[in-house]
């Protein structure tokens, strides 16, 4: 393993950092948030022009052929800048799910537009009461002479108000209970029967809740066998992106807070001279480095683990890093005092992103519960033929 960025990776990082520096200072960002449109179209076109939307998508579909590392590099800088455009939802989550699910010809049909920014798609997989877990699907797809017709309700569709179409997960009625029978369907956002409600999120990003009332799908992506695995793969990439974002957010929180402690005076001294605040910063830094280590665990899983293992690793990394980020960013506010609570100052917004991140893609607690269930299964599989339950 090699933890330093290669020179190419540094170039990518620097170019994203430059974009953030030029387009995402506190004032510019606040203006974007206040405009309440889920970011700027110009920024999105900038992302596309720089190749970031397809950074980790294959070259054969007009992507740039990078790996999860490129996603992490971009996301980390976006986390530092608190980017509000739906890179996570549309580029990473939808792009990678689509790639994992679709046939090559479907990829050729949908990915180039996604990558060049000419067409936005969002993934509609979560449902009221599924808490972001992809296996829980009540939306269903019926066969009709014209194709599949979808019924159901999806929520927290990231980037949802701004897209041309949705990738929707739905169960086929012929397999009502089996967890494997989930298909992914492409529907247009202007399809009859589809209504979308805009959900503004705390961090200035936007999602949608969509109701599908007999909506005719354009097509099913790939086959029924691979719907759920493809969702998990897309979620793995998205969770990685979120983890990297939060590491970036924590970095910035630490920088901003350290600066504040150096500049702020109380009782005639820099408040950085107070030992209890120094120690708090040290703890925050240590937690951040532990979270960064977890991000590396997550990255490594893309190179060394099978898809199922990777999904589990990413799930636990996501819960873990979100927990750390909530704490570190909350302490960032605390060390600022009153100013940290204001909308005009940046530090509070990192906390908001951490709170939203904890909810996205499966709340921390619910993901942890799923990881624990999986651990129980692992133990019960392993113990089938071992001595068990020995009396003392």
């Amino acid at each position: 393993m090699q933890f330093e960025l290669s020179s190419e990776q540094q170039l990518l990082r620097d170019s994203v950092a430059r974009f953030i520096a030029e387009n995402y200072d506190v004032t510019q960002r606040l203006a974007l948030v206040k405009a309440d449109e889920g970011g700027s179209g110009a920024n999105w076109q900038g992302f596309a022009a720089n190749g970031w939307l397809g950074a980790a998508l294959p070259e054969q579909f007009s992507g740039f052929g990078g790996s999860a590392i490129e996603t992490a590099i971009i996301s980390q800088q976006f986390g530092r800048g608190l980017v509000v455009e739906p890179y996570l939802g549309c580029a990473v989550l939808t792009g990678q799910t689509l790639l994992a699910a679709a046939t090559p010809s479907q990829c050729e049909r949908w990915l180039p537009g996604l990558i060049d920014g000419s067409q936005r798609l969002a993934l509609a997989y979560s449902e009221p009461w599924s808490h972001g877990m992809p296996e829980i699907v009540q939306t269903h797809a019926d066969h009709s002479p014209n194709g599949y017709v979808l019924h159901g309700r999806k929520t927290l569709v990231l980037g949802g108000p701004l897209v041309d179409g949705y990738v929707v997960s739905a169960r086929l009625p012929s397999h009502p209970t089996s967890r494997g029978s989930v298909g992914l369907f492409l529907v247009r956002s202007d399809a009859p029967g589809l209504t979308a409600t805009r959900l503004p999120l705390h961090d200035g990003t936007q999602a949608a809740e969509i109701v599908l009332d007999a909506v005719l799908a354009v097509e099913m992506l790939g086959d029924l066998e691979h719907g759920l695995p493809a969702l998990r793969e897309g979620l793995s990439h998205a969770m990685l992106s979120l983890c990297a974002e939060l590491v970036g957010a924590m970095e910035r929180t630490l920088e901003i807070t350290a600066d504040y402690l150096r500049n702020r005076k109380q009782f005639n001294v820099q408040i950085a001279t107070f030992q209890s605040l120094q120690h708090r910063m040290a703890d925050m830094a240590a937690e951040t480095e532990l979270a960064r280590s977890m991000l590396f665990v997550a990255l490594a899983s893309f190179f060394n683990e099978c898809a199922n293992e990777r999904y589990e690793t990413l799930s636990s990394a996501k819960s873990f890093i979100c927990g750390v980020a909530r704490n570190v960013c909350a302490q960032g506010i605390q060390l600022h005092g009153g100013i940290g609570m204001t909308e005009e100052y940046s530090v509070g917004h990192y906390f908001k992103r951490a709170v939203v991140a904890d909810v996205l893609l499966g709340t921390g607690t619910v993901r942890e519960m799923a990881t624990a269930r999986r651990l129980q299964k692992r133990f019960s599989d392993a113990r089938t033929d071992s001595t068990y339950a020995r009396a003392p």
Partner: protein, 397 residues
């Protein structure tokens, strides 16, 4: 020691409950409870209480109050929160009130008490300044005597609800004496006085609670000085010392717990209510346990009211540490319980256009409250300041 419940308090609780059940109009009941209600609601509620003779529930009888014990006041606050009444103007009741009762002249009281209890005079508190947060005594807003007036120049910050207050009580520097605490005085000012400007500060919960208040040659009648010139610091200590049992904001914690209990059955996960999942049940039951402990700590703090001892001095600060920690964790858990909807920003019904988002009824306000609670470890003396107070009071460190 005696842990039998005082029957007088039981019957007092019944009295309050009866009053609320019978007298509280529907439009003032079951309101969502946060740090402060809308002004019009608070005003209506204040008038209703005053009409009932309960207009000053925390003041002594000889100052026009109910004369209730701290224990009774807690019961009153709990029951009001449970009934979802508006909040009162606590700057008037719990902060300025004791100061007026103790330090003001009869004339001053005569001027302010009536309009305040009639719901016509709302107050805000001008203490913090941009350069003086934890180091309050370093404040720099000047008040220069000019005949029968003080001419006030300077700036206050974090002034909650200044934008809807009629009057402000504020600390000003009236002399540059040797010790910075000795040059501070306590003034009352009409917010309509020329030269006072209020600039809103939006906070991260997406709402407008806070303000900056600028004073530009503001002429305040010298008759509005409370106590003597230079007595402001000791008045402030008196004022802050009244608030020990309130630091945990117990009624709010109780609101959180009820909300949590409600969501535990209303919110589903994978076909079952949250409470049916052992992990959620465990966390909920831990919160119930902690609530019992904090409630009792409030009782103990109330019982120490007015005593002079290290523990009496430190107890309010200790309660603040534990109470605010619980506020933050409970309000955060509520947001977690909402699942996907925890990420959604539900605009406050009073601010911005009316909307109707999914799960509005269960979810609205939960996240705002969580964001707002981050301030609970900052306002009223940061928790770092409280730790210093405790270590000094208990151990002489």
């Amino acid at each position: 020691m005696d842990f039998n419940v005082d029957p007088a308090l039981v019957s007092f609780r019944t009295t309050v409950q009866d009053f609320l059940r019978n007298e509280l109009p529907r439009d003032l009941a079951n309101l969502p409870r946060s740090i402060s209600s809308e002004r019009s609601e608070t005003a209506d509620w204040q008038r209703l209480l005053t009409a009932h003779g309960w207009g000053a529930p925390y003041w002594p009888v000889n100052r026009g109050g109910t004369g209730w014990s701290v224990e009774q006041q807690i019961i009153f606050d709990e029951e009001c929160a449970a009934a979802g009444t508006p909040t009162l103007d606590n700057f008037a009741h719990k902060l300025l009130g004791p100061v007026l009762n103790h330090f003001a002249t009869d004339d001053q009281r005569a001027e302010h008490v009536g309009p305040t209890l009639a719901g016509e005079r709302f107050w805000c508190q001008g203490f913090s300044e941009p350069g003086s947060g934890s180091d309050l005594a370093s404040l720099r807003t000047r008040a220069q005597r000019d005949g029968d007036f003080y001419v006030v120049n300077g700036q206050k910050i974090w002034t909650s609800y200044a934008h809807r207050a009629d009057w402000i009580f504020l600390l000003v520097r009236t002399s540059q004496s040797e010790k910075k605490q000795l040059g501070i005085s306590f003034l009352l000012a009409d917010m309509k006085t020329p030269g006072i400007t209020v600039r809103p500060i939006m906070s991260i919960d997406g709402r407008h609670h806070l303000n900056e208040v600028f004073f530009d040659n503001v002429r305040v009648p010298a008759a509005n000085l409370i106590g003597r010139e230079g007595e402001g610091w000791s008045i402030t200590k008196y004022l802050l010392n009244n608030e020990h049992a309130s630091t945990a904001e117990l009624p709010m914690l109780q609101v959180f717990l009820r909300r949590m209990q409600n969501l535990a059955v209303e919110i589903q996960l994978d076909g079952k209510a949250l409470v049916e999942h052992p992990e959620f049940a465990l966390r909920l039951s831990r919160f119930e346990t902690e609530m019992k402990a904090v409630s009792m700590m409030v009782q103990r703090t109330a019982a120490l009211h007015g005593q002079e001892s290290p523990i009496a001095h430190a107890m309010g600060s200790m309660l603040k540490l534990r109470g605010t920690d619980l506020q933050q964790r409970m309000s955060a858990f509520i947001v977690e319980m909402l699942g996907d909807y925890g990420a959604v920003f539900y605009p406050c019904p009073h601010e911005g256009p009316a909307t109707s988002l999914p799960l509005q009824e269960l979810a609205a306000g939960a996240a705002s409250e969580m964001f707002l609670r981050r301030a609970s470890t900052i306002y009223g003396g940061t928790n770092e300041v409280q730790r210093g107070i405790i270590a000094k009071a208990l151990y002489g460190f």
